[in-house]
């Protein structure tokens, strides 16, 4: 998990990877066709199939995989659009941001001063309490 922009960037990169993976799958697992009436499809024994450039999948498996890949692409694209729409600070201009930062800086200074004051008051109260307790201890 990173910030929103990095998430978006990663999602875009993943989309690119999915493009390649999809083409790669189709390229490797499509069915074989004959070009002329005299061509013959050679059936390769299973153990050698791994070394072959094309390893045809059964029709229904191939279809299902295509559908899944296409759905994944759509999902990723929608993810990207969602990430775009939740980018932080879309309705702030640079001037808005600067003003905001400056205001916050001032408020922080005030709050810090108040905190210091409160700590001082606490110390004073503590000292008074301490004095009272000591006087109780030694009647």
């Amino acid at each position: 998990m990173g910030d929103r922009l990095t998430q978006l960037q990663d999602a875009v990169d993943q989309l690119a990877t999915q493009f390649i993976a999809s083409i790669n799958y189709i390229n490797q697992h499509h069915s074989l066709e004959t070009l002329g009436p005299r061509d013959q499809i050679v059936v390769i024994p299973k153990q050698e199939a791994d070394q072959q450039e094309v390893d045809p999948h059964p029709e229904d498996v191939f279809r299902a995989a295509q559908v899944e890949l296409a759905q994944d692409l759509i999902t990723k694209e929608q993810q990207i659009e969602y990430l775009i729409s939740i980018l932080p600070g879309l309705d702030n201009s640079e001037q808005d941001q600067e003003r905001n930062i400056r205001e916050l800086e001032e408020e922080l200074k005030v709050a810090e001063a108040q905190r210091q004051e409160a700590i001082k008051e606490r110390e004073e109260t503590l000292a008074r309490l301490n004095a009272v307790i000591c006087s109780i201890r030694r009647p």
Partner: protein, 235 residues
């Protein structure tokens, strides 16, 4: 000989020899010289003053000037003083969105959202076209791949352009949360203090000391008054 061996054995290179010139004496001397020169030249910022003709032992305390061409090399890489995003045109990439001046006129970023979404949709459409081309005329796919590449690079460019904006936005969020934290802490301290003060007032009105004296006399037990006092305080 011994020293030489140590040098070979150490993981990191030794610090540059001029570190010994940074004595507190020398540092204060150059501070003074800077201030004098700044006053004479009427410059506000003493760090921007460059001093000429420094004595040998102070020469290393003045940082070297910035590179004139705005470029320098470290470990074989080139760096620029002004760290800016390279333009798309520099990399011979077609630009698929309007100029910065022509969009987001009001300083807001809705145009950017629209452009990004449009690019995302174009990516999908172009991929669909690419698969179609690969099936029918693979030799035409080359151009389509270039299109998709350009779309991706444009997308990344727009994202990176937005990074400074997001950085400021994160800063605002962090400051806001710090402000909230500080205020909560102040309130908690005040609450605790008020409680303690109420206890003190309670002690005053109960005239606890009399009770304590009374109890001690009766029970002859020194712990009792303490316990009494503590229970009162802990309430």
């Amino acid at each position: 000989m011994d020293e030489e061996q140590q040098q070979v054995a150490s993981t990191w290179p030794l610090p540059p020899p001029f570190w010994k010139d940074f004595t507190s004496d020398n540092v204060s001397r150059i501070e003074e010289l800077r201030k004098e020169t700044a006053d004479r030249l009427g410059v506000q910022d003493t760090w921007k003053v460059r001093l000429d003709g420094l004595p040998r032992e102070l020469r290393n305390l003045q940082p070297p000037p910035e590179p004139e061409d705005g470029e320098w090399r470290v470990f074989g890489d080139r760096y620029r003083l002004k760290d800016e995003l390279p333009q798309l045109e520099d990399g011979e990439i077609r630009r698929l969105f309007p100029d910065l001046d022509e969009r987001d006129q009001d300083g807001k970023h809705f145009d950017r959202v629209t452009i990004l979404k449009r690019l995302a949709k174009s990516l999908l459409l172009n991929f669909l076209e690419l698969t179609g081309l690969l099936a029918t005329s693979p030799e035409a796919a080359e151009d389509k791949i270039t299109d998709i590449r350009d779309l991706f690079i444009n997308f990344h460019h727009l994202i990176n352009e937005y990074r400074p904006h997001q950085a400021r936005e994160s800063l605002i969020t962090m400051m806001q949360s710090q402000l909230d934290r500080t205020r909560a802490e102040t309130n908690a301290i005040r609450d605790a203090k008020d409680k303690a003060e109420r206890v003190l007032e309670g002690l005053g009105s109960l005239t606890i000391e009399n009770q304590v004296n009374y109890k001690t006399l009766e029970n002859e037990e020194s712990y009792d008054p303490d316990i009494e006092a503590w229970t009162m305080l802990l309430e």
